[in-house]
Symmetry: C2
Subunit: 180 residues, 2 copies
């Protein structure tokens, strides 16, 4: 069973410094909708600041119990997959899954997408995505494995985290991707 964690700290900024990024409304919406489409029942939103976790809770509340859920019940269903947590230690405490980090940079010893599909077929896997300019080295070091970068074509490799989540999930779980 696959789960997803969208990590806001420790991440890198464009200068390579370690920062906590802000939670964005759209990352929650897009992440939840993609997860539910692929039958993923947990999307962890990881942020160390209470004020940011409260912000995420307010957005979700609108859709889960407020007017949003009446206006668009499908969105309500999507948000039921979201869990807001403090840090990667809290993730480990809640889940026995093998933690696999993603990175746009090639990391020594990275596993292939086929190997990731194999891990997912064998047991629980939680796939980590960094915001900002990606997961900081200390986040990668906390993972059990790192999967190779999503390769496009050419030298530009700056996918939005929303796109990286969608593509990675489809690479692991896409139903009719392999049809001929």
């Amino acid at each position: 069973m696959l789960s997803i964690a969208l990590v806001h700290w420790p991440c890198l900024d464009k200068n390579g410094d370690v920062i906590a990024t802000a939670i964005t409304n759209l990352d929650l919406h897009d992440g939840a909708r993609v997860c539910l489409t692929y039958g993923i029942n947990t999307l962890y939103i990881v942020h160390p600041y209470q004020s940011q976790r409260d912000f995420a809770a307010r957005i979700m509340d609108h859709w889960l119990t407020g007017f949003g859920g009446e206006y668009n019940p499908l969105r309500k269903r999507a948000f039921e997959v979201v869990r807001v947590i403090d840090d990667l230690a809290a993730l480990r405490a809640q889940s026995a899954a093998t933690v696999v980090a993603t990175s746009a940079r090639r990391i020594d010893g990275a596993i292939s997408w086929a190997e990731l599909r194999g891990l997912d077929a064998q047991g629980d896997v939680c796939l980590l995505f960094g915001t900002g300019w990606g997961l900081a080295p200390q986040a990668l070091a906390q993972a059990d494995a790192v999967v190779e970068p999503i390769a496009g074509r050419g030298d530009f490799n700056h996918l939005p985290v929303r796109a990286a989540m969608a593509i990675a999930i489809d690479r692991v779980l896409g139903g009719n991707r392999w049809d001929t």
Copy 2:
């Protein structure tokens, strides 16, 4: 060669009525970054209203010639792929590509993703994506073919258009998707 068109009219709203949707800043950013990552050199933004096309031009101008390009040259490069056009007739006038529509609903005679990869290998293909609740029937009717829906797992199939674009492009062009 693959190109992408993000269509804002004719689209459906949640009640099934035909509408023109608003251009959103983030769709332009995410679409351009995904296209450039996969070596796609044209992302058409299709909108019939001059005011909306002007809005798109203002966003792009910030990144292509304004402060944005200085602050983040990578974003400037991404926006170089965007072309803002009026309608599907303008698309046909500018491009001899085979036009393939996407749809979250199953359409009779839809081609598979493998068949789409075959078309792309043989010649130019432009892949259409609807905003709002998807392309209206009259947009599907203008396409040369429709590709089958992106299947996840289960009955919830409400991908954000940003996610659908990313997944579809990776399904056609993803470099290391097939590696073992």
